[in-house]
């Protein structure tokens, strides 16, 4: 009989853990697979009753900085993002390692191996290790919940931010979680050293030395962590290091216990003594990790000798993509279990614009006025639903790199002589990372046409509120776009000819044009109408 428990996604377990651990503020920008952390906090009655801050930020960098500010005040804060969001937040993230924390600070990065909804599959453990801070990597929803408590304790014990890293599969999988008695929030209490957060070289050098000295203590914590375990096995022909969720894929193949010695590794820096013992007692070591081969690489070392290491680098496991029970089974040399192959009649079904989506109407006009008039190759796009214009029937965009890159790549292309140079960016992506790029264009009066597709939502991640809603025109004007070259349209089929005409006019204008097709996301609109009708 299972104990009375709540069913939570990995993301939700983290949010509930933070609420129960006495967090005072959640900070985040939506990004799959991390979005549900903030969404859960926003829907939580307890969080509302406790007056916990739980509003979206403009981007991951502003979220990280606000969380650091809350930590400065002695309160517990959580900031969550997807892996590529950690790149955006990298500046404050790495420097927060140096300033250290005051109130507990847990940074959550949800990685997306196999790129289900992402541009790359980078492993946030490497960035955490780069910042020299402790990292927690849960193997289950329960561990995710428990680790939030442990994370805050460690963060406050050593006055350091900690990183919690999980991957898509755990973020978006539900299981039972047993909750603890909630803790009260912390009182506002400024750091004892009022210069702790002032990273002037003289102070930063001192702070950095403290961070370096703490490395030994972080390692000691890992050695005795309840999340790291040495499980002995009789068969010493191999030892296994299983990181985070990889532990589950291993145990799935050995329901009655693994015959090989195993190091279950869920807290970093990697526990050296446990791994030393594993290397000493076994003939070879198989490393199972979801993401990049971080532990495998370190175990091999520069000269790659003395220890026989198997994993992603040796080819036992594919170099890219997320793990699953079958891949682990293959790496263990066990007989394959698999069903039939997919019959050839099955056609791929890629994602597409929703029926009635305003982006589709906007792209029909963009395609006619630009791709069909000047050929393929002029349109730099960005990250959001509108990236789907790369697929049939549009096949109209030429880039999707990072949040905001559409505008600045179009600028660079215009600098190189490309005409027309066009950017297509969404409203939320624009306020996330596009505004500063637009300013660059204004300063040089670059010859670019920038479309801000305004659907008044952060749509791809589920229709979260957008900071841009109702503010786009003023922002563009404020940055210096000439008012007569800010063109607001309604992307509907019946307006097609007008849209094409306006686009042509703005292409002819030699300077910065901003065209804003504005129509609410039909998903969020539908939900609002339903809610109205229901009440």
């Amino acid at each position: 009989m299972v104990e009375k428990m709540v069913m939570l996604l990995g993301d939700e377990a983290i949010a509930q853990g933070a609420i129960d651990a006495g967090v005072s503020g959640f900070y985040a920008y939506p990004g799959t697979p991390s979005t549900e952390i903030m969404e859960y906090a926003q829907q939580s009655k307890e969080a509302a009753e406790r007056g916990i801050h739980r509003q979206w930020s403009a981007n991951e960098k502003t979220a990280m900085e606000a969380a650091l500010g809350m930590s400065y005040c002695g309160k517990r804060a959580m900031v969550s993002m997807k892996h590529v969001g950690l790149n955006v937040a990298a500046d404050p993230f790495v420097n927060a390692g140096v300033t250290g924390a005051n109130g507990g600070l847990v940074v959550v990065a949800a990685d997306d191996p196999s790129m289900h909804s992402s541009q790359n599959e980078q492993d946030s453990r490497i960035l955490g290790s780069f910042a020299l801070i402790p990292i927690f990597e849960p193997s289950s929803q329960q561990e995710a919940y428990d680790m939030v408590f442990a994370g805050y304790e460690m963060s406050e014990k050593y006055r350091t931010p900690v990183l919690m890293r999980l991957t898509t599969r755990l973020a978006h999988s539900r299981a039972g979680v047993v909750r603890r008695e909630p803790l009260p929030q912390k009182e506002l209490k400024l750091p004892e050293d009022k210069r702790q957060f002032v990273l002037l070289p003289g102070i930063a050098r001192k702070r950095y030395r403290i961070l370096l000295e703490n490395q030994v203590r972080f390692l000691e914590e890992s050695e005795k962590s309840p999340f790291n375990r040495y499980v002995d096995g009789k068969d010493k022909s191999r030892g296994i290091i299983a990181c985070g969720i990889a532990y589950n894929y291993l145990m799935e193949n050995f329901p009655d216990g693994c015959p090989y010695p195993v190091v279950k590794l869920c807290q970093y820096p990697a526990p050296k003594k446990m791994i030393e013992r594993l290397v000493k007692e076994t003939k070879e070591v198989l490393v199972l990790e979801d993401g990049q081969p971080m532990i495998e690489e370190r175990l091999r070392g520069l000269l790659d000798r003395d220890v026989t290491v198997k994993g992603r680098l040796s080819g036992e496991i594919p170099r890219d993509g997320e793990l699953n029970p079958l891949l682990v089974r293959r790496a263990l040399g066990m007989p394959e279990t698999t069903g039939e192959p997919v019959p050839s009649i099955v056609a791929p079904r890629p994602p597409s614009f929703c029926t009635g989506c305003g982006h589709a109407d906007a792209y029909h006009a963009i395609k006619e006025a630009i791709k069909e008039a000047y050929g393929d190759g002029h349109i730099f796009s960005d990250i959001g639903c509108y990236t789907l214009a790369a697929l049939p029937p549009f096949e109209t965009i030429n880039s999707c790199v990072d949040m905001g890159a559409s505008i600045t790549m179009a600028k660079g292309a215009a600098d190189a002589g490309l005409f027309p140079a066009v950017a297509v960016i969404g409203d939320s992506t624009f306020t996330h990372g596009g505004m500063t790029g637009l300013l660059d264009c204004i300063v040089e009066d670059s010859n670019v046409v920038i479309f801000i597709l305004d659907n008044s939502a952060t749509a791809m991640t589920g229709g979260q509120e957008s900071h841009a809603t109702g503010r786009l025109k003023e922002i563009c004007k404020g940055l210096g776009v000439k008012e007569e070259h800010i063109r607001i349209l309604t992307p509907l089929k019946k307006n097609h000819e007008e849209m094409v005409r306006i686009i042509r006019e703005e292409i002819e204008y030699k300077g910065v044009s901003v065209i804003i097709p504005t129509r609410e996301c039909i998903q969020t609109l539908g939900r609002k109408n339903k809610a109205k009708g229901g009440k």
Binding site: V2, M7, S117, R174, T338, G339, V342, S352
Partner: protein
């Protein structure tokens, strides 16, 4: 007891309500459960799947291992075939017969059904029609949950309680019509299985 289900459909078809019913019933029966979902890009009309795992023993992997699903439960016929690599040799394919056509190269629906029927254990249901007949034109998902329930070792009463819990805030009529759809699916499956 162990039941691994590959739940399949197209983004927007609402397969997660099926997972919610089965999951709720499993938990209230004192079983372990893990259920992974697809969020993000694929939800925009792409193929989506959910791995639902129920067991009387502790469950490790959030993903159903290849070749070991007891059931593919699909709300769309072509999507049922996409997950054959996960189906155990003794597993069932339970699928709605009504295609969801949102791609230009959707294959001949008859050929898809014929492909499904090549497998020994299958139940193909016109769930849209059964839902309508049960007075719930939006109850296709509950018809499919009902058909699946026949193959899951959880008391029927627990399943119906789960529907009640899931829909109760929408009113007694909605609960009733969803239970009617659920029962219609179960009866159909019972006849087909023999």
């Amino acid at each position: 007891m162990k039941c691994d289900i590959l739940l399949a459909g197209v983004g927007g078809q609402g397969i997660l309500s099926i997972a919610a019913v089965i999951g709720h019933a499993a938990l209230s029966s004192g079983l372990y459960m893990k259920q992974s979902e697809v969020h993000g890009m694929s939800q925009r009309g792409g193929d989506v799947q959910s791995h639902v795992r129920i067991s009387s023993r502790e469950i490790f992997s959030d993903l159903v291992p290849h070749g070991s699903a007891d059931m593919i439960l699909s709300v769309e016929p072509m999507e049922a075939l996409r997950y054959l690599p996960w189906l155990s040799p003794y597993g069932w394919i339970i699928t709605n017969s009504q295609p969801f056509v949102n791609i230009p190269n959707y294959p001949d629906p008859k050929a898809i059904i014929a492909e499904i029927e090549k497998r020994p254990r299958h139940i193909v249901i016109n769930a849209d029609e059964l839902a309508k007949a049960a007075g719930n034109s939006r109850g296709m998902n509950m018809v499919m949950a009902g058909a699946a329930s026949l193959f899951i070792d959880i008391p029927l009463q627990k399943m119906e309680e789960a529907i009640d819990a899931l829909f109760s805030r929408k009113g007694a009529d909605i609960v009733k019509s969803n239970i009617a759809a659920f029962r219609a699916g179960r009866e159909f499956a019972q006849k087909k299985r023999g």
